[in-house]
Amino acid sequence: MSAVSERDQLRYIAAQAADARVNLELETEGMTLSIGPQHPATHGTLRIVARLDGEQVIAAEPIMGYMHRGYEKLVEARTYPQINTLINRIDWLSSFANEVPFILAAEKLMEIEAPPRAQWIRTIFHELSRIANITLFLGDMGVQVGALTAVFYAFRDREFVLNLIESATGGRFHPNFDRIGGLKEDLPKGWIDETRAVMKRIRSFCDEMDDLLVGNEIFQARTRGIGVIPKEVGLSYGLSGANLRASGVDWDLRRDDKDIAMAWKHADFKVWTHPDGDSFARYWVRLQEVRESTRIIEQLLDGLPSGPIMAKVPRIIKVPEGEAYVQTENPLGVMGYYVVSKGDLGPFRVKIRSASFNNISITPWLLRGVYVPDAIAILGSLYFILGDIDR
């Protein structure tokens, strides 16, 4: 892994040495550019301090912590049901998906399993969160390269998904719908038909994005071959989700994790990968994933089992002693919770493995040697949510 980065470094130094003869007369000094903390490309308050030589980034260092809320400390002072509210705020664009691995980890320690209907509805909402999250990315990526139209379509169509989530859970962004042992409520009347209609709409949104951006010559020129992540480097940095699949790694926990108590195993879907590993590939893979998500939801709605939505759980939830790690394929990548319990009302230690923290840790490697406008496109294509980095 480090071999690749050294080779790149050497190549860059060689290019610099060649340029030096020209630059000698121009005497460029280099400058430090602070991108952020408030920058449209950063989805929150990430600051990137870039050392520039002309338009080229020599070194980039992300500065985090503007939104560090110390969740790993806070959860140690809370009970399991209380924690559910906190972890909704980690990746705020797909809050329901944050709840799932934590609840599953607690259920694993308690050795209970949610009834089938609850598992299916969980999976449906997990996929709805994915659509709500990635839809925004599909539009927002256009903004990063100067195409403003797409983002308005994205906000327009994401609203339909948020309305669905709100009508069933009561919360647009923070549903807080998952409970240890099942779900808070069953689906409201008429929800299933409404969802089918929205899924059609999302697919037509994907077609619009295909026309507006994917087939757009300017968009391709700005993203093809930009920010290439080789497979090995991506793995060693722990990249996950579409960022890794765009580098050709065929790994999706929805398909590969056979033991998880979710309903993905009952749906037939394709895991898309792309061999290129560039910004365009990351966009393309996410676009296909939204289409697959709509298909998963439709299949699950067709076969939704009836029955209770809550298993038998004690009134006061005490989790037996032990350690459990559950990770799921969240919109931004793999999200996992390592829960250590001492048999108390609250956990002893929770390690929150959030996708964006790993995804963004590659930026010092990735931004070296690129041009500033490309750096923005690369950051946009890596797609991170600040709450997911800072926790």
Binding site: K73, A77, S236, G238, D256, D257, V313
Partner: protein, 227 residues
């Protein structure tokens, strides 16, 4: 920090009635063959998780072995655990009462341990989707462990976070500086003896006003955790 082979051999047997998990047992055998007495504790939950505790000085070797022999190229996370029980519990004590007695005994989790602090990391083979949790004790008098950055590039930020949250030094880390907290922050917030100040300055209101909901059965709670 020098218990050698004896502890490791004793900790090996797993629960027998559970279904056998050949893939993870094979991983464990391979690690035991290569690392020998550097493995000081193991724990296997069939079809769930394999936890292996190695000696502090074998931490990098274990990482390299997982990467090169077991195909665990994917770096999941690295962090630490402070096993000392918190002297304040969940910070819900009534400040007018004398502080309650709390256990101070350090009890480690899966795969055992001898020290207060443990570093643990998880790596994964994306082809087989088999993960491996590696743990290592950090001696109390010298909070140091070798850095994983040469093995997994992604360990860089995770080690910085662990360093600032627990005060564990990663020897050989290229840039061990604060990642979340301001540079002049004092203390290590995730240690159990670092108080959660919000709960210290104002008593937690949640305990005081638990009243039964109107119409619910006598003495029950608010129904949120019911059914």
């Amino acid at each position: 920090m020098s218990p050698l082979s004896s502890a490791g051999d004793a900790a090996a047997p797993e629960v027998e009635e559970a279904p056998r998990d050949e893939a993870r047992e094979e991983m464990l055998e391979h690690l035991q063959r290569e690392l020998g007495d550097a493995i000081v504790g193991t724990h296997l939950r069939p079809h769930d998780q394999l936890t292996v505790r190695v000696r502090n000085d074998a931490w990098v070797a274990a990482g390299e072995l997982a990467r090169d022999h077991l195909g665990c190229h994917f770096f999941d996370f690295l962090s630490a655990i402070d096993w000392k029980p918190s002297p304040w519990g969940r910070g819900e004590d009534d400040p007018t009462e004398p502080p309650p007695e709390r256990p101070t005994e350090i009890v480690q989790g899966y795969a055992g341990g001898e020290t207060r602090f443990q570093v643990f990391a998880r790596v994964l083979n994306t082809r087989t989707n088999l993960g491996l949790v590696l743990k290592a004790d950090v001696p109390d008098d010298r909070l140091e462990i070798a850095s994983w950055v040469p093995v997994y590039a992604g360990a860089d930020w995770h080690e910085r976070e662990t360093w600032e949250m627990y005060g564990i030094t990663f020897v050989g880390h290229p840039n061990l500086v604060h990642i979340y907290l301001p540079g002049d922050f004092e203390g290590h917030p995730l240690r159990k003896d670092f108080p959660l100040l919000a709960r210290m300055v104002k008593p937690w209101p949640g305990i005081a006003d638990v009243e039964p909901m109107p119409g619910s059965d006598a003495g029950s709670d608010d129904g949120e955790t019911a059914s």
